[in-house]
Amino acid sequence: MRAFTFAAARDVEQALRLAGPGSAFLAGGTTLVDLMKLDVLTPQRVIDINGLDLRGISTDHNGLRIGAMARMADVATDRDVADHYPVIAQALLGSASGQVRNMASIGGNLLQRTRCGYFRDTATPCNKRQPGSGCPAQTGENRDHAILGTSTACVATHPSDLAVALVALGAKVRLRGTGGTRQLDLGEFYRLPGDTPHLENQLRPGELVTDVLVPALPWARRSIYLKIRDRSSFEFALTSAAVALDLRHGTVHDARIAVGGVGTRPWRLTAVEKALCGRRPTEDHVQAAAAHAADGARPLRHNGFKVTLVQRTVTRAVLGLAGRR
């Protein structure tokens, strides 16, 4: 690990003042410390923000508000979250391990870095880690990589399960910098890699994620997170689907669907949502709608299976939620 200076911030203002070029905020540390050990991240200054008062979880008529420093475990076991947004609780409980969920913050979860093996290995090129150095995943080991939103510069998946659930629900993130506060749709907060895969989101240098805001969506009580992976626990998704359904008299009145494990960012499936609406969720109808889950996919040598798998993941999630399976 490279040398750095350490400072603990008492409040948001102090954290923002301490931030500067080459600094990193430390929350749970499950991404930062890991990647610092690998020399993938080499901040000159680490600012401990665990003392910041950003841990609250609250619900009102506007929806759900989660402080960015709330821990994954706290949100996953929050009664209101489990009751009103089961898709969020399930996405969190399906992530990482009990220890990591106790440590990792919600803000850090949304900002976690890809698990691409080339990104994590400083002995190989990676455009995300070292712009312009190349992308060995295009022709190398790419079984775990993305099929949607990729570019010739990067095919890394976004690893967060929580982000998939939040994008499906139309959540926003609140950001705070020295210039003030702003709010962005989480779906737009994440950038496509294009030819600048090292820029993963809209966060400006020294800016801090302070809250996640999930709009009120009463029918999100009927929601699910389905995660398909190589082993049944403590593993990242090959594919996943976050689905919320508004069922009225046996017909889909509205739907929210996003998928994970397949995109360079959490992938909202508005075409599938549209195809489901106004129809009864029969197996035929759901399969036909879910066929759109891989629209625009560009499979690589080892991850072609994700095209079918993501369609089936969406189908199973929707049918399960509709009580058809």
């Binding site: 690990m1 350490f6 890991d34 009990g98």
Partner: protein, 196 residues
């Protein structure tokens, strides 16, 4: 010399080996004793941690993980270093009563917090119920993952959410056992869960 008989320089030498061979230069500052009274140098951080009920004061390079601080500075070698990447759970300890992996926790970030390690479970010669259950169910072979398994199991039982064997397996999935003692670990947790 510090209380555990290591000079700071020898500590940094060992820490350099422990941190995956990265080049680590000892900062050019005077070597304060580990009393916490000396002001930290440019990169050094003074940390006070309550470990197993006892207040301990350290001056650490901010790169030092809680795991390395426990083992190398405080002589508490019950906590094991497995993968050192948060993937195996051998280094599981409790911070403020919650289980965490100490390999991804910077010692500097647990200032004024309470840490419990496997050494803090037994009361004198009386083993903690989870420790007793692990012995009775032969829930280990080589034993390297065991302290992490036990620290996790204590937290899982206290949490109370995992009631079936499947739920216990899921809750314990952050603790890998390469010997494959899982059936006996689950049996030990099952027994300890029933005890007061």
């Amino acid at each position: 010399m510090s209380t555990d008989g290591l000079s700071r320089r020898s500590f940094f030498g060992r820490a350099a080996v422990a941190s995956a061979g990265s080049v680590l230069a000892a900062p050019a500052v005077g070597a304060p004793a580990d009393t916490g009274t000396a002001p930290p140098g440019e990169n050094l951080v003074a940390v006070a941690i309550t470990v197993n009920g006892e207040r301990r004061e350290l001056t650490v390079d901010p790169r030092v993980t809680l795991l390395d601080a426990l083992r190398e500075r405080l002589g508490l070698t019950g906590t094991k270093k497995g993968c050192d990447r948060g993937q195996c759970g051998a280094c599981t300890v409790h911070v403020d009563g919650r289980r965490v992996v100490s390999c991804l926790t910077l010692a500097a970030s647990v200032h004024r917090r309470e840490v419990t390690t496997v050494e803090g479970l037994a009361q004198g010669d009386r083993l903690h119920p989870v420790q007793r259950a692990f012995v009775e169910h032969d829930a280990f072979q080589c034993g390297f993952c065991t302290s992490g398994q036990i620290m996790s199991a204590v937290a899982v039982i206290r949490d109370g959410r995992a009631t079936t064997d499947d739920e216990v397996r899921e809750a314990m999935s952050g603790n890998i056992c390469r010997c494959g003692a899982y059936p006996n670990i689950v049996a030990a947790v099952r027994q300890a869960r029933r005890e007061p």
